[in-house]
């Protein structure tokens, strides 16, 4: 799993985001484009691409895009172990 790929997919799923503007340290819930619908879109993307489930708790606890990536990475590691 590569963080740059995750960010690229994250950007592609967000409405009205200029590619290259999302950084690992971006607080994604502070973005104008972020809302509850985007949360579902992100969950669907992570499920399809990485085969793991982001919970409401994960979304609540994570602050940055990098945090989200770490959660996905950890869940994928557990899944594959």
């Amino acid at each position: 799993m590569i963080l740059a790929d995750f960010i690229k997919m994250f950007e592609a799923e967000l409405a009205d985001i200029i590619p290259g503007t999302i950084l690992p340290e971006t607080a994604y819930k502070q973005l104008d484009a972020w809302n509850s619908m985007q949360a579902l879109i992100l969950i669907a993307m992570v499920d399809a691409e990485y085969g793991v489930t982001l919970t409401a708790e994960n979304l609540h606890d994570c602050i940055t895009v990098s945090d989200l990536f770490s959660v996905v990475q950890n869940k994928k590691t557990v899944l594959n172990s």
Partner: protein, 349 residues
Amino acid sequence: MFTVSGIKLSGLAVSVPKQKVSNNDYPFASIKEKELFIKTTGIQNRRIAPEGLTASDLCFEAAEKLLHEMQCVKSEIGVLLFITQTPDWIIPPTAIRLQHRLGLPKACIALDINLGCSGYVYGLSVISSLLKTTGAKKGLLLVGDVSSSVVSEKDKSTSPIFSDAGSATLMDVSDADSAIHFSLHNDGEGYNAIIIPDGGMRSKFTPASVEVQKISEGIERNKTHLIMNGVDVFNFSLREVAPDVKQLLPYCGKDTKDVDYFVFHQANLLMNEAIRKKLAIEPEKVPYSLKDFGNTSSASIPTTLVTQLREQLTNEKLSLLLSGFGVGLSWGTAILETDKIACLPLIEI
């Protein structure tokens, strides 16, 4: 998983309110929010019952027209099920009132069942099983909801999703080698993922029940309104539906290629497409009625059958997989064959 043999689905009708509402006109969200909502959920328009038109009224109209069209002898109907989460009353059971309104015999078993999005699949299993054990010749399955009456108009997480519809399905005892295969599941741990908090015996109705609370921007409701935890319901559906389908297909010796159409509960396009992709089903085998009829709760499967597959149901022999999932949490899959059934055009009231 289990199979009920010797029972067939022979007729189907669906009725919806005439009143159409467009989500473009939803007043409690921004234009951008509405565009994203419509694109993501696939729900453009909805049907909303006017005050006084209930789920039982919608089902009654569908049943009357279906029985008339099929020249059905009412005295042969031995089972009537009404599956809804929006009954006419808490007491008495609405099914018994429907039995009288429809002119069915007093010996006809009449039951309400409280289920939502999985209700059609569960209803098929209960009515088929009752027909097998009672010796009745025919059963009438009435499934529908007026969810618009239990959501807050000012709740953008529920109001633009739900739409109203009622259905009637005639089930017959059949000599033919027909079989309906079922897989049914529940998980009460998720009981509050979709809930109306007040009004039952656990949390009785009080004056405070109708006090409106602002939960967040665009979400205002009281405790008699339906609450949906979108993320929990989404994850539940992603987790459970595809494996249930994958389990039932080999149980009855089938593969996805043996099924003509997969008719899923119409939750929302994002969720349903995720499920379709997990199962690697071709898009043309998965019809949608979301665009014009939204999420009609328990009636979404029959609504999709009537509005999207009427010609095929009327003229062809079909192998169908039906899958319902939602409130409870509850989910179920049925695999059945239909052979040129009576499928009425959509009824508008």
